[in-house]
Amino acid sequence: MNLFRRLFPHPLLTLLLTVTWLLLVNGWSLNSLLFGLGLGIMIPFLTQAYWPNRPRLSRPLKVIEYVLVVLADIVQANIIVARIVLFKPNAERRPNWITIPLDLKTPEAITALAGTITMTPGTLSADVSDEGHTLLVHCLDAPNPEAVRAEIKERYEHRLREIFE
């Protein structure tokens, strides 16, 4: 087990690199699978010294649910933003800053949350506070900032906490 950990410091990264190589080759053959696997083993092994503190996913299967929720929200976000752009006069729009106090602690989780917020309806993460306890979000049209904050915290941050902590 110890030897396995040492040879494959990051099994998920190995899998990801192999799949990426197969997609890049754009075909399926034993040859490219073996080469991709070779790259997938070599790269994490040679670079493991550069990431000493890897995040631990406590519930990796929850990631699938999260990705599906976010994908559905992206499609919805596009329709909402398109309607605001096309049909809402600028004078009626209420652009607004909102601040979100963070319960997440690890930088990876905060990055994931910020990326999700940017991709979803009418919100865009702009900055993080100097010690990383608050996230600054810009809303395209938010007559009610409290509701947006509550929705982000409940819909995304809660799920991310389950995944990362």
Binding site: T20, I74, V81, N90, G122, A126, E131
Partner: protein, 132 residues
Amino acid sequence: MDSLFEFLVSAFLVIAGIFGIVGSFGLLKLDDPMSRLHAPTKATTLGVGGVLLASMLNAAAFGEYFSMHELMITLFLFLTAPITAHFIAKVHIHRQETRETMPAAGEDDHWATHDTPEDEERRNAAADPADL
């Protein structure tokens, strides 16, 4: 079966075109700089995503080759769009806003874009040496 695929590919192309143009139109229409960031980051991602999806379906249904390349480009765009948006937002905050014009930063003092080396020294001095 063929006409179903034909319909799907055409539908994806038309939807992608509309979203692509709405994204760029938003860039012209919206009147404050932070709001202008919203339209392109969202609409164009689905615009390009729709074109790539149509291309993948087209290759699978009618072409002589089978192609998964498009998936790579789509994933790459979905991963990088938030990062570029974040950087552009930081440029805007850096150039147009000051600490006073920004909303309060919750339990912290200010936003990271306005951080200076002096602030960092102050934080390091205040932190407990045992934590470092």
